[in-house]
Symmetry: D2
Subunit: 139 residues, 4 copies
């Protein structure tokens, strides 16, 4: 399971002193980008040069406990579904005490950069995702 | 129905030139705060002085079309469910051509600021939400 | 003088309940983009299609009074210097009471999108800026 | 000298594929918060419990080279001035090749949380800053 440590910084907190609900998605995407990096896929390079994008088509989150500004938390990332044209990533945010703070999910597809039409997932993306796909979902 | 015009600014776009998926939640919350303003409820005042908070406990979004940096879009906000302890807001993002770009939902509860325990929705919040509650959900 | 009204939203505040110091630059740039819009220059279109960019090469700000989450403020924008290759924009943030909250400045140049080398300011940018250049600076 | 590695994430880039100019201030503040952490000062704790804040009163930046989305960079932080009521931090952003991308500065003071009036820098802040103050500035 891929893990990504985060520190809740002042810029991501809100006036109640906790991580702003919308910023969980940004931090989850930071974790996802770093996961791609670890498989040799750089999101910036991908956007600039490959001719395809892998946008988010669905996102959702359930908040259980606040994360406070200054707190150190952990994001656990799992590839939970991988199809020919879409894939699903689940994220768990654990607070400094190891308790679940948030469950979050993103569903992605691949599109041609110019036409924005759906295309099959590129091979390098498939390879990276397969390496992390949970065994129970591998068929 | 409450509507909120937005312009997709450079700071909210990403390297693909479109609104970053996580920022839809921030813009939806901007619309929601302005909706509360229109009913005399200022979120900053609420956080600083009332002793309760109304955090988001669930959020989700479905993306249909990208919104481009520099594009002018419209957010339509509807109160779709109102219970004694929770409420649900739906948002539709329409692009410059009037086509649906994104559907988004936030579910909120009320908590005591100090204890963070759930409390009944305060009366002023109930009054504001009831005024905008869709008729089909009122009885 | 170009003016741009803003509402300090929850997402831009910090744990002290006030606009995060770094976000003044984002709001100033929102004002600047809207100023360009008013002269027919769309920043998204410019980045995607023109072959040049007009990045910020210097920025600075002096903070006098905090702006509170939920507060409505005003940004006043002035073109204070216009040269063949650079221009300078000054911004004043006024709080809800009309008092000065922040002075901010951005200095821009033009670069070729591919090479990132400095180029002369394009004519459409020059025309827009000249229209707003303060008389005392018009020589 | 305190160093802080950063990865330019998608959420911090702009439509030109580079770090948005205003976000350098956010990343610099992330570095500063982590520097304070390393001296036992947690900014969240400080805001919530100590009765004082250490806001930024001046900030400035000079941009030399863009930082690209996906790029790994380094921030070097130095305490360059320490007075009884203010202090100054300088930041250098180095790109993946080790070249200077940006110089940035923040000047801070201390204020009473309630009155927002200037107060002397608290002892724990002074101690942390002195430990990192450059020798040439130590008198």
């Amino acid at each position: 399971m891929f893990t990504y440590p985060v520190r809740i910084s002042l810029r991501d907190g809100d006036a109640a002193g906790v991580l702003f609900f919308g910023r969980y998605f940004a931090l989850a995407h930071d974790a996802y980008e770093t996961f791609l990096d670890s498989h040799g896929l750089n999101i910036g390079h991908l956007i600039r040069t490959t001719g395809y994008l892998i946008p988010v088509v669905h996102a959702e989150s359930d908040y259980r406990r606040p994360l406070f500004v200054g707190e150190r938390a952990l994001i656990r990332l799992r590839v939970v579904e991988l199809r020919s044209r879409t894939f699903t990533i689940d994220y768990e945010f654990l607070n400094a005490g190891g308790h679940l703070a948030c469950r979050l999910r993103t569903v992605h597809c691949a599109v041609n950069t110019q036409t924005r039409r759906a295309v099959a997932l590129p091979n390098d993306v498939l390879t990276a995702l397969r390496a992390e796909l949970e065994p129970k979902n591998k068929g």
